[in-house]
């Protein structure tokens, strides 16, 4: 099962390596990893996705708590967190195809980040699953290059919403 962990670490050299190593040591591949600054200049946030069972994950979480640089470890449950990801997708776009691609992008609220003679770069921000959908729909047009940031997340400010709406940026 895939779990999303939000880890706050001191902004110090080696902090990321120490966290990632706990997964590598047990043979778990990190599926996505996003690292960046937080509201505090001395604290960084690591959001990572890993496919492993509950019991080994609990063990790794406890090991993470013991790392001197780790300030907080929290699992983000899908219903209880706001999760976003950004993707840049370069796609083959001869002029006659562009209206169709633009229409598709419009549905997903993807933005055109760049246009060339025969290709376009889309920028999309959203829930990772929506990016998956967009990616699938434009794939037949010929993806030339694609880069995703990996998801970042925060615990929801509101109470858990059982029938949450799809929210796009």
């Amino acid at each position: 099962m895939i779990h999303t962990l939000s880890v706050l670490v001191e902004n110090k050299p080696g902090a990321l390596v120490r966290v990632c190593q706990l997964f590598a040591r047990r043979g778990y591949n990190i599926e996505s990893l996003a690292v960046g600054p937080t509201e505090r200049h001395d604290v960084s946030s690591i959001t990572l996705r890993v496919n492993c069972d509950r019991q080994p994950l609990a063990q790794i979480e406890k090991q993470m708590h013991k790392l001197v640089n780790v300030l907080r470890v929290r699992e983000l449950e899908a219903d209880d967190a706001v999760e976003r990801e950004l993707a840049l997708i370069s796609i083959a776009a001869p002029p006659e195809r562009r209206p169709e691609l633009m229409a598709l992008a419009d549905v997903f609220q993807a933005r055109v980040a760049d246009v060339g003679p025969d290709s376009m770069v889309f920028e999309i921000v959203g829930e990772p699953e929506q990016i998956d959908s967009f990616e699938e729909l434009i794939r037949p047009h010929g993806i030339r290059e694609l880069s995703r940031t990996g998801r970042i997340g925060l615990k929801r400010a509101s109470v858990r919403r059982p029938n949450r709406q799809r929210v796009l940026n």
Partner: protein
Amino acid sequence: MNGADAVLRSLEAEGVEVAFGIPGGAILPVYDAIARGTTVRHVLARHEQGAGHMAEGYARASGRAGVAFATSGPGATNLVTPIADAWMDSTPLVCVTGQVRSHLIGTDAFQECDITGVTTPIVKHSWLVQDVEEIPQVLKAAFHVARTGRCGPVLVDIPRDLQEAELDFRYPDSVDLPGWRPPVRGHARQIAEAARRIASAEKPVLYVGGGTLNADACAELLDLAEAGRLPVVTTLMAKGAFPETHELHFGWPGMHGPKWSNLAMNTCDVLVSVGARFDDRVTGKLDAFAPGATVVHLDIDAAEIDKLRRADVPVVGPLKQILADLAAEVRRLRAAGDAARTEPWLRRLEGWREEFPLRYGNGGQLKPQRVLESLQELTAGRDDVVWTTGVGQHQMWAMQYLLCDRPRTFITSGGLGTMGYGIPAAIGAKAARPDATVVCVDGDGCFQMTSQELATAVLEDLPIVTVIVNNGYLGMVNQWQSMFFEERRSHVHLTHAVPDYAALAEAYGAKGFTVSDERELDEALAEALACGRTAVVDARVDAHEQCFPMIPAGAAAVEMLEYEERDGAEAVSA
């Protein structure tokens, strides 16, 4: 002052008495600061691995953090084995390494090695110092992290230019480590529940591990055992944490533990793990270990809870407080209930102890077990003997035959199983306990891995007695090849005679003895123990004596193999 002086002033502020190490290019300024004067005694080792194990031996004998110095590159990588050893056995160890100058880092400079990178998985934390002003606070934090929570190794890597840079020295009063919050108290409700389970048990066992020694909780353990009339089994790492001549002590669990100890562990109804970690050498096949027992798990490290065996009642916190509170509560419950509740169980354990004694073959060549029995007899009742060991058959016989009544008197490499640990650890223990007679029980294979440190023992006036249980083989490997590889002996024969161990000892300025029968053995041991000098006793023993009982790796404890008489030899019981 410069950064190197700051290192020494910081160690002095931490109350460090002794440090072990070897100088080299990238740590020259620190050694210059040592030469210019410090209250820290520096012990010059012959190999950085030796320095690291000495620091470990010092830590384990004293309860304080051990300190090791090494230069960059190979000096630092030679510390990797002691660091890994300290990691596995939770030994507080502070390693200070020199690093190439800051501007050379990452350029493959001479003797450059990314030692913080190499050691990441085997340290509690490490620091590559970035600014000379950081040195005092980094060292303060290093000692704090090594000694608090679950003890273990830390590493401080200091580029040479920072050792030479100037700073205004002020040693901080406190550490600023927002992410380091070891538990400070066991939860009262969990302790009450643990006490209830223990007091209502009919067949309880206290399964005591090395964490008890690190927590300085041996007096509290004794109090708990006596309050509840609870039998105690101590792991290899906990040997000495509970008096082994006490009527409530029932041996040592695991692969080479006596049958009665393993029967106690595997028949109990409430298993109380006290700073132990359900190591595979203790449990054997985990699914079959202590089936049906309720587990009360006491540990400072929350990550140990449910790691291998699910805990019914976990209590996380300092063992000293937890055991003290438990003892008081168990005493209260016992006084209110059935004070003699565990007596039938204790009688049963005593019955097993009589039924299944340790045995070995008598007759023919000198037996290795006899060497340990002699050592036990010669030192019985003394409170000033500290043992260290290497790793292998001799270590297991030492566990079985030596009786330790005091904490921190049996120092061995448990988790990592580091051959060659014994001699340097003994030197470190001697530095911590100058009053004690420190005896390293070694194997011939182990001896040859770190024997160069005999020079350290002689020249630094840290006399130790090394007793080589010399069977001419890598004995434990030989045993496994005999038992599990159809007696195909592959590269295990070291021979009894090369080197001539007594002559080698004499070459180092130590006393050397060679013995091959019981009379010679007893005389040589008595003389070596009494001589006050570094001495080596080469006890040439039966090459093919195997260590029993034995639970084969991965087997259930009940599938224990016992001693079998061979060649018609008469078995003697201990």
